[in-house]
C-alpha cells in the first residue's frame, strides 16, 4: 500500500512532463491524457482511502520513505511521504475536484490553441499540491508549497499576451514568495531548535521547546499561511489572480491551493497549542480577513472578483477556526472541504456564465439568465444556498460549527470572535444573494436597449457563438468589445462542462450533512488533530438560530437593494465604504505606497550610487595614475643632455653611496 503513495504524486507529474515536453504532436489528445492521469491519481486516492478505512484508528497512518534527499552532516532531509487522515482528506479533495475541473476545462479551453500546455500546468499543480499535503517533513512541504506557487504563476499568467495577466501572475508569485520566506525561516528555527524538521519529531518535541521560539515559529508559519491563503496582510494577490482562466480560479484559487495555509496551521497544531500568543495572532488574522473579504465582496461587480473576495472571507473562517486550537481544527478542515465543493461549483458556474456571455464578467451586464442556462442556474443556486449556510446544506453545518467554536473561545475573546463570525455570515448572505440576483434574476440587462443602439437586427445564436469563440480563444475579455458590437446570446454550456458542475452541486448539498452524521468527520480526523468539544456560553440552538437569522437578514437586505428595483448597468458612485471596497479597501494603494514606490526609488538610487561612487572610486584611481604618469612623462623630453644630467646625477649619487658605505 505504501508504494501507492508515491504513484499518487507521480501520475500527474508524469502527465505534466509528457504534456510540457511532448510538443505539438500531443495537441490533439493531450487534454484527455491529462484528465486521465488526474483520474488515475483520484482512483489511487480512493483505493488508499478504503484501505485506510479498513484499518483501525491507531495504525491508519502510512509512511513511505523514498530516498534521502540532502544528506549533509547533522542535517537530514528525506523524500518521504506521510499519509494520515488529514492528508487523506486533502488527497481526495484535490484529486476529486481536480479531476472534475480537468474535465470541465476540456470544454472550457476547447478553443484555446495552447490547451495542451494548460493541461500540463494543471497536472503540474496537482502533483505539487499532492506533494504538499503528503510530505513527511517541512522541507518537502516547502517544495510542494513553492511548486503550487509556480503552477499558480503559470496558470494565472496563462494568457501571457495580456499584460494584466502577466502582472497578476508576477504579483501572485512575489507575494507568495514573501510567505515562503516566512516558511523557510520557520524551518530554520525548527532545525536550530530541534535539529530536524520532520513532522514526527518536531511535533512530538514541540511542547519541550521554549515558548518564545515556538511563538516565533508559529508566527513565521502564519506568515507563510497568509501568503498562500491570501490572508491579511498578504491578501492582495488573490483578486488579481482572477486574470487566469476560470477553471484555474475554481481549482487553485478556490478549492485547493489557497487552503494550503489552513492545512499548514492545522498540521502544525502542536506548535500553536504550545504558543498561545501565536494562536491569538492567527485568530485575529482570520477574523480580520473574514470581514475584509466579505466587505470587498459586497462591492465587486466583477463576478469572479466577488467570488474571490468570498473565498478570502471563507478561508478567514477556516483560519480563525484553526486558530482556536483543538476545538477548531476539525471544523476548519470540514469547512475547507465543503467550501471546496461549493466554491468550486460556484466558480465553474461563473465560468459557464461567462462562456455564454462572450466572457463578460460585469454582473451589471447580466440578469435574468436563469431562463437561458438552467443547469448552470440550478447548480450555481445550490452552491449559493450552501455558502450562505442555508439549513441542511453543507455550508450550514460547517460554518455553524465554526461559529459555535468561535463563541466558545472563552471570555471576551469568545464574544468578539463569535460576533465577527456572525457578522461575516450576514455579509456572506448579502453579497452572495447580490451575485445571485444580479446574474440570474431581474431584467436582461445584456440586451441592447433601443435607446442604446437603435434598431439593431438580431443575429442568430450560431453567429453569436462563433463570435464568442475567438474572443475566448485569444483570451481577451472581449465582453466589452463584443458586447458593444454584437449582443451576446447566452446559451447553456456543453455537457462536458455541466457534468462537473452537477457533481460538485451534489457535493455542496450533501457533504456537510454526511460529515456531520454522528460527528463522523471529527472522529475521522481526531487522531491527527486532537479534538475537544466546544462549550459555547450560549446553548447551541440559540447560536444556530442566530446564524440562520443573520443569514436571512443578509438575504433580505440584498433583495431589497437588488431584487426589487432595477439595477443600473453602470455602477452608481456609491457610498464611501462602497468605493473603498471596490478598491479592495486600498490594499494595492497601500502596498504601492509602502513598498513599490519606495523600492523603485531605492533601486534607482542604488544603481546611480554603484555607478558614481563604487565604480567612480575605481575609475578615479585609474585617472589619478594616468595623470601622474602624464606628468612624469614630461621628464623624458628627448634631449640627450637632460638624460646626461640624470646619468651624471646618478653617478654622483653612487659615489655618495660608496663613500657612505665606507664611512659606516
Amino acid at each position: 500500500m505504501e508504494s501507492l503513495i508515491g504513484l499518487l504524486v507521480a501520475a500527474p507529474l508524469l502527465g505534466a512532463a509528457v504534456l510540457l515536453c511532448g510538443g505539438r504532436r500531443l495537441d490533439r489528445a493531450g487534454h484527455w491524457l491529462g484528465t486521465a492521469l488526474a483520474a488515475v491519481s483520484f482512483a489511487l486516492g480512493a483505493v488508499l482511502f478504503f484501505d485506510m478505512l479498513g484499518r483501525s484508528g491507531g495504525e491508519r497512518t502510512l509512511h513511505q520513505h523514498l530516498f534521502s534527499w540532502i544528506p549533509v552532516e547533522g542535517f537530514q532531509a528525506d523524500v518521504a511521504f506521510r499519509l494520515d487522515q488529514l492528508s487523506m482528506t486533502f488527497v481526495l479533495l484535490i484529486t476529486g475536484v481536480g479531476t472534475l475541473i480537468h474535465l470541465y476545462s476540456v470544454g472550457y479551453m476547447e478553443h484555446d490553441a495552447r490547451r495542451r500546455r494548460f493541461f500540463g500546468y494543471l497536472n503540474l499543480f496537482l502533483a505539487a499540491m499532492l506533494l504538499l499535503v503528503l510530505a513527511d517533513n517541512y522541507l518537502l512541504l516547502y517544495v510542494g508549497w513553492e511548486g503550487v506557487g509556480l503552477a499558480s504563476f503559470l496558470l494565472i499568467g496563462f494568457w501571457q499576451h495580456k499584460p494584466s495577466a502577466a502582472a497578476a501572475a508576477k504579483k501572485a508569485f512575489l507575494v507568495n514568495r514573501v510567505g515562503d520566506a516566512g516558511l523557510a525561516i520557520a524551518i530554520f528555527l525548527m532545525f536550530t531548535t530541534f535539529g530536524t524538521f520532520a513532522f514526527g519529531e518536531v511535533l512530538a518535541a514541540a511542547d519541550g521547546a521554549g515558548e518564545g521560539t515556538l511563538t516565533a515559529i508559529g508566527l513565521m508559519l502564519l506568515l507563510a499561511a497568509c501568503g498562500k491563503s491570501a490572508q491579511v496582510p498578504l491578501q492582495s494577490w488573490l483578486g488579481d489572480a482572477m486574470e487566469g482562466p476560470t477553471p484555474v480560479s475554481a481549482l487553485i484559487h478556490a478549492a485547493t491551493m489557497v487552503t494550503a495555509g489552513v492545512y499548514l496551521i492545522t498540521r502544525s497544531g502542536a506548535i500553536y497549542d504550545a504558543a498561545p500568543n501565536a494562536q491569538t495572532v492567527v485568530v485575529i488574522v482570520g477574523a480580520v480577513t473574514l470581514l475584509f473579504g466579505a466587505i470587498v465582496g459586497c462591492a465587486k461587480d466583477d463576478i469572479k472578483k466577488a467570488l474571490a473576495a468570498s473565498t478570502m472571507s471563507q478561508i478567514g473562517y477556516m483560519v480563525l477556526a484553526a486558530g482556536l486550537g483543538p476545538i477548531g481544527y476539525a471544523f476548519a478542515i470540514m469547512h475547507l472541504v465543503t467550501h471546496g465543493f461549493f466554491k468550486a461549483g460556484l466558480f465553474l458556474g461563473a465560468g459557464s456564465v461567462m462562456h455564454g456571455m462572450n466572457d463578460e464578467v460585469n454582473m451589471r451586464k447580466y440578469g435574468g439568465l436563469r431562463r437561458h442556462m438552467p443547469i448552470t442556474f440550478v447548480t450555481f443556486g445550490l452552491g449559493y444556498l450552501a455558502i450562505i449556510g442555508f439549513p441542511g446544506l453543507s455550508g450550514f453545518f460547517s460554518k455553524d460549527l465554526i461559529i459555535e467554536a468561535a463563541f466558545s473561545a472563552g471570555g471576551v475573546r469568545g464574544w468578539v470572535l463569535g460576533g465577527a463570525t456572525l457578522l461575516g455570515a450576514a455579509l456572506t448572505a448579502y453579497y452572495m444573494t447580490r451575485v445571485m440576483l444580479l446574474t440570474f434574476f431581474g431584467e436582461e440587462r445584456w440586451r441592447h436597449r433601443p435607446t442604446a443602439t437603435p434598431a439593431e437586427p438580431d443575429v442568430e445564436p450560431a453567429a453569436g457563438r462563433g463570435a464568442a469563440a475567438p474572443g475566448r480563444a485569444s483570451g481577451q475579455t472581449a465582453g466589452q468589445a463584443a458586447g458593444a458590437a454584437a449582443e451576446p446570446h447566452p446559451h447553456e454550456s456543453p455537457r462536458v462542462m455541466t457534468l462537473p458542475m452537477i457533481v460538485l452541486a451534489f457535493g455542496s448539498v450533501f457533504a456537510g450533512g454526511l460529515f456531520n452524521w454522528g460527528e463522523a468527520f471529527v472522529h475521522w480526523l481526531e487522531p491527527v488533530t486532537r479534538f475537544e468539544h466546544p462549550h459555547p456560553p450560549l446553548p447551541i440552538p440559540v447560536i444556530t438560530g442566530a446564524t440562520v437569522a443573520v443569514m436571512l437578514l443578509g438575504v433580505g437586505l440584498a433583495w431589497l437593494q437588488y431584487g426589487r428595483r432595477p439595477v443600473p448597468v453602470t455602477a452608481p458612485r456609491g457610498s464611501l465604504l462602497t468605493r473603498a471596497a471596490r478598491r479592495d479597501l486600498f490594499q494595492d494603494d497601500f502596498n504601492h505606497a509602502a513598498f513599490v514606490s519606495g523600492g523603485q526609488h531605492l533601486t534607482r538610487s542604488l544603481v546611480y550610487l554603484d555607478h558614481t561612487v563604487v565604480d567612480g572610486a575605481v575609475n578615479g584611481t585609474a585617472a589619478a595614475f594616468g595623470g601622474l604618469s602624464g606628468r612624469l612623462r614630461k621628464v623624458q623630453n628627448g634631449f640627450a643632455r637632460s638624460y646626461a644630467v640624470s646619468m651624471f646625477g646618478g653617478a654622483a649619487v653612487l659615489v655618495a653611496a660608496t663613500l657612505l658605505m665606507r664611512a659606516v
Binding site: 623624458q636 623630453n637 628627448g638 634631449f639 640627450a640 643632455r641 638624460y643 646626461a644 644630467v645 651624471f648
Partner: protein, 99 residues
C-alpha cells in the same frame, strides 16, 4: 709635496669637463669636454703609478689614450654625418629619443 694635490687637480678638471658636457650644445665642444675628462682620469692614473712605483698605471693611461683616439675618430665622423644631414652640430637638434 702631497700626491693628493694631483688627484685634487684631476677631480677639478674632471668636474669641469663633465659640467661642460652637460651645458654645451655644440657636439664638437661636448667631445672636447669628454677628452678633458679622460685626461683628468689619465692624470690620476699617472699620479697613482708614481705613488705605488710601478708602471701599470701608465700602461692603463696609455690604453685610455688609444681608446680615446679611436673614439674621437668615430665620434667626429658621426658629427660630420650629422652636420651633413641636418646642417647643424647642435646635440639638441637630435632630440629624437622621445617617442
Amino acid at each position: 709635496m702631497n700626491p693628493a694635490n694631483y688627484l685634487y687637480l684631476a677631480a677639478l678638471l674632471f668636474t669641469i669637463g663633465a659640467f661642460g658636457v652637460l651645458i654645451r650644445r655644440n657636439a664638437i665642444v661636448v667631445f672636447m669636454c669628454i677628452e678633458l675628462m679622460l685626461n683628468a682620469a689619465n692624470l690620476t692614473l699617472v699620479a697613482f703609478s708614481r705613488m705605488h712605483g710601478n708602471l701599470d698605471g701608465q700602461i692603463m693611461a696609455f690604453f685610455v689614450m688609444v681608446v680615446a683616439a679611436a673614439e674621437v675618430v668615430v665620434g667626429l665622423a658621426i658629427i660630420v654625418m650629422l652636420y651633413r644631414s641636418r646642417h647643424s652640430a647642435s646635440v639638441d637638434d637630435a632630440s629624437l629619443m622621445k617617442l
